[in-house]
Amino acid sequence: MESFSLILAIVVVTALAFDFTNGFHDTANAMATTISTGALKPKVAVAMSAVLNLVGAFLSVEVANTISKGLVDETGIRPEVIFAALVGAILWNLLTWLVGLPSSSSHALMGGLIGAAVASAGIGAVHGDVLVTKVLLPAIAAPIVAGVAAMLASRMTYSLGRKADGKAAAKGYRAGQIASAGLVSLAHGTNDAQKTMGIITLALVAGGSLAPDSDPPVWVILSAGLAIALGTYLGGWRIIRTMGKGLTDLQPQQGFAAQTSAATVILASSHLGFSLSTTHSVSGAVMGAGLGRKGGVVRWSTATRMFVAWGLTLPAAALVAALAEWVCRLGDWGTALVALFLVASSFAIWRISRREVVDHTNVVDVDTDPVAGAPGQPEPAGVVTTAMAAVSPPPAGVTEDLTATVAAPAEPSGPSDPQASKAASSAATTV
């Protein structure tokens, strides 16, 4: 830890920020069905998920090691490249959160790494076949597998459980949902918190302050676990609303079938060596459960927007990361500029999100008007246009915010809000 350079510190802070966005982006995976069916109170649900994520982070360092050892060629990676990758991933995560669409944080991170690597080492740095087998195919397979399983399971639970009603049944479905949601949370903690640990370890190795092939240090494990737990606890209420209410209307039976299917698919896939994204599995399971009830409907407009977002995740994150890497290479001031841009645009996204607040108080009482099935969001083109806006050079509004933030980087504008204080703290670190 002696040679802990400034750029390394920036990378670590950015990686933790990504972990944080990952946490609140993916709370929905574990808890959306539980919250929308009323099995758990929103706050209780996210607290439970946060604790299990934290526990999961400590269970093993297997995933972290596959990232930091061997997946990427350690010799060619500079901390700046990792930083650029994280910038792309964070911005995409925040943007999809703003429009309330579930999308894979892992794909965002992968896209970021690919974009930064291409900008740094040329197009040859990407293996096309790996892209297809590791990204494209799983993204198509996950929702189908989880969806079919959830559909059959909810059909069956409805036909078998016809005679079951009353208190015992309600209690039973509640317990079942909580158990399977807990499993998903735990699996998420072991997977996603460790991705960040792997990234930080990779950066430390690349920056020369850690010997190659070492396990993540304890402070890395601890801070990554805490960051993802904090993010999970704050809850991506917008995404929870889409997943729990926007895609379809879930009854306890369906919630149970969906969450069980998702947990099974996630565990089976990672165990059998064909990793499927948690987000994709859960979304597919929710839709399958929606189709599995007589008279159940899936709001395909919302689903289509979600699919579009999935398709855009990788290229969008890659493009932002490539731009970031390109600017970073202009010199230290370039890196500083990218860091400021990240802070400013995160702040801007947060500001926009405050126009229509979604939190634990109103996450379930959305008007289930099928036309406005996309909760509180504008026209279907929203995803694409916002994505375009994100990848194009900073719009005027953001630049204004940027200057405002530059003028007073540590201004105590919003310590009351965790995200703003996060932004403020990272601004303080970068300046």
Binding site: L59, A141, T157, G161, S261, T264, V265, A268, H271, F274
Partner: protein, 73 residues
């Protein structure tokens, strides 16, 4: 490019069978418990249904334990 169809196929098969089996078992357990509830309301009891229900729940708990084992291992 080699796509591991075998792995994908087994993920599909295992997920399908396990999900349906688990949800089915759990539903049977719930049916058993609610039968007991109805019997109790009439003043009787349904010992067989309750025993069956707990057997179902135990099987589900075992599956969850195996899931946790897979996460930890």
């Amino acid at each position: 490019m080699s796509i591991d169809w075998a792995a994908l196929g087994s993920v599909f098969g295992v997920s399908l069978v396990v999900t349906v089996a688990l949800v089915g078992l759990f539903t049977l357990g719930i049916v058993g418990l609610s039968r007991q509830e109805q019997a109790a309301a009439r003043g009787g009891s349904a010992a067989l249904a309750v025993t069956g229900a707990y057997a179902c729940f135990a099987a589900c708990a075992a599956a969850v334990a195996y899931g946790i084992y897979l996460i930890v291992a």
